[in-house]
Amino acid sequence: MKRIYVNEMWCLGCHLCEYYCAYANSGIQDMVKALKDKQIQARITVEQRGTISFAVNCRHCTEPLCIKSCIAGAITSKDGVIVIDQSRCVLCYSCIMACPYGALMPAREGVMQKCELCTTNSQGQPACIQGCPNKAIVFEER
């Protein structure tokens, strides 16, 4: 399965992936309208210390601990893509405790959100990939 991988060698810590992610999942056509004057809620986060930076998002694990931990059965695997049914989420934070990557986070709507590889929005392919100026984030089979 194609997954998102990040090469910290090329990650510049510019954080553009976060903005493209937030925009892609906003459901709004205009980036300015979607993001201006808002605290963004991206599903990818740039971790940074000193000169090293690294964008982190869901690894779409083959043995996803989040699915096992979900008490509401809201998290499922769809052809390997781990997706969350926000209508079933009860915001128990069990998944946050379980995920070793910190790839799940609360959404503005008061439920959990996570990277779904832009399969559930209109992007077609992950927006972070398209937005990365240095090809540090790639979407590929490994």
């Binding site: 510049l12 510019c14 493209y20 980036m31 993001l35 201006k36 100026p133 240095n134």
Partner: protein, 501 residues
């Protein structure tokens, strides 16, 4: 601090309606132009620091930024122009030589733009490169002057080293030091994929890049940085750098601040020591000395590699080239005065040397008059900007061209001409690891491959239009060129007729 006479040349126009304060501009500007004002909750900028490199503009996701020239002005004066006055202020303050980078921005004639290319109509057919073979392969090197045969009458086909180019375009010398590791790697990877050559410049060859050796030209310059037997044998050819178009007659200076561990090891000089290339080679004070170095290098590589002698285009270039053609060199590279540099005194860059078009035309003609054009191949550089420049150069008589500025532009360079600051936001002319990583060689080499592939398509289209299906039939084919808006002397030097003639 005194009075600052200089007003910032650019203004940063930020459309606050579009700015989402993502702060990418702030994070990506090595000149620290942008910052986020916590109180006002908006981005602001200090335009006095801006070099107009467009990094922020290119990365801004909402296109909220643009850089414009300031309309602040001096009282208009055709003689004492703004830059003239400002240069005086700078020197009055610093007492130093003005430094500049890349090719001269001054308004000198660009002869490429004053030549037009021919095409076939009626009397002979144009050739469609999509349907017929169209050859751009070129061999560089000395051509045998006579045919020798073995006992059975078969031609003996040994040649001195020849460089085989799939396209008549090579990447010209840019040292590791003047440009970054990743820029070098991009060039090396692209040259391998394209079947052409890149050039180490005078900074030696990083150990990681020996693997690209068969697509590498290794340079020997006056500083002899990083020159050792393994290095000489690592490449496909050796270039002796006598001069550079942007700064004929002077050497180079890579400041100690840029000499980090890798560069120090590659150049074989102490860490953080300034790398100073002398103006001349101190073992070459005359043409006969050059011949000795040519043969010393041939000896060192057991006569397997062609030797290139690179010179800047100066006034008596044709006599110089004639001397080089008889020195044992296989290839002469001529660098025109519009060529780029990582750093040069501005006055020299803007005033010394001659345009490559005129240098090329006169050298090619002179070598033919002397009957020695076959002794050497001619490679020219110094602002080859497009495929049509390549066509025109070859029709004037070049065997191939060198490009460097065009290659850097393909890597993202926006010609802000502040390479000498070492703070290249595009990761090209810098040794700061934070900035160097901005150029991912995978992306960079792909851009270079794309650029030359596109040029090659265009070259083939234009050749086909002329009814020429092999690049060698274009070489020196000056009938394929006509001058436009040129006077008699220029036409005579270029050896072409005027349009309509």
């Amino acid at each position: 601090m005194g009075i600052n006479y200089l007003y910032p040349p650019f203004e940063i126009i930020r459309n606050q309606d579009r700015c989402i304060a993502c702060r990418v501009c702030e994070r990506q500007c090595a000149n620290l132009v942008h910052h986020y004002d916590e109180d006002k909750k908006r981005m602001t900028a200090d335009e006095s620091l801006c070099v107009n490199c467009h990094r922020c503009v290119s990365l801004c996701p909402t296109r909220a930024l643009k850089i414009v020239k300031t309309d602040h002005t001096f009282k208009e004066n055709a003689n004492w122009k703004t830059e003239v006055i400002e240069d005086i202020y700078r020197q009055a303050q610093s007492g130093g030589v003005l430094l500049a980078s890349m090719g001269t921005p001054k308004e000198y004639p660009v002869y490429w733009d004053k030549m037009l290319i021919n095409a076939s109509q009626v009397t002979n057919p144009s050739i469609d490169p999509l349907r017929e073979p169209m050859e751009t392969r070129t061999y560089l090197g000395k051509k045998s002057a006579k045919i020798t045969r073995d006992g059975e009458g078969r031609i003996i086909t040994s040649t001195t080293g020849q460089l085989k180019l799939d396209i008549p375009i090579m990447f010209s010398a840019m040292s590791y030091g003047s440009i970054s590791y990743n820029a070098h790697k991009s060039l090396a990877m692209a040259a391998s994929e394209l079947g052409t050559f890149y050039n180490t410049g005078e900074g030696g060859l990083h150990k990681d890049f020996y693997q690209y050796g068969k697509n590498t030209i290794v340079q020997v310059a006056s500083g002899r940085f990083g020159v050792h037997p393994e290095y000489l044998n690592a490449g496909a050819a050796i270039e002796i750098k006598m001069g550079q178009g942007a700064k004929p007659g002077i050497g180079g200076h890579l400041p100690g601040s840029k000499i980090g561990e890798d560069i120090s090891a590659t150049r074989m000089i102490p860490l953080h020591a300034d790398a100073i290339s002398p103006a001349p080679h101190h073992d070459i004070y005359s043409i006969e000395d050059l011949r000795q170095l040519v043969y010393a290098l041939k000896e060192a590589t057991r006569y397997t590699k062609p030797v290139i002698v690179k010179v800047a285009a100066v006034h008596n270039i044709s006599a110089i080239a004639s001397g080089i053609a008889r020195s044992g060199a296989d290839i002469i590279a001529i660098d025109g005065f519009r060529g780029g540099t990582g750093a040069a005194p501005a006055r020299i860059r803007d005033n010394v040397g001659i345009p490559i078009e005129l240098a090329l035309a006169s050298v090619d003609q002179r070598l033919r008059q002397e009957g020695i054009r076959g002794n050497v191949s001619l490679v020219v550089g110094g602002s080859i900007r497009s495929s049509s420049d390549v066509i025109k150069a070859i029709a004037l008589g070049a065997d191939a061209v060198y490009i460097a500025t065009s290659a850097l532009v393909a890597l993202g360079c926006h010609l802000c001409r502040t390479c000498h600051s070492g703070k290249c936001n595009w990761g090209i002319a810098t040794q700061n690891p934070e900035l160097v990583k901005r150029l991912n060689p995978e992306v960079g080499s792909q851009h270079l491959v794309n650029l030359l592939t596109a040029w090659n398509h265009e070259i083939k289209e234009m050749m086909g239009g002329m009814g020429i299906n092999s690049i060698e039939a274009l070489k020196g084919n000056r009938l394929m060129l006509r001058g436009i808006a040129l006077h008699e002397t220029e036409l005579k030097i270029l050896g072409i007729a005027h349009a309509g003639q």
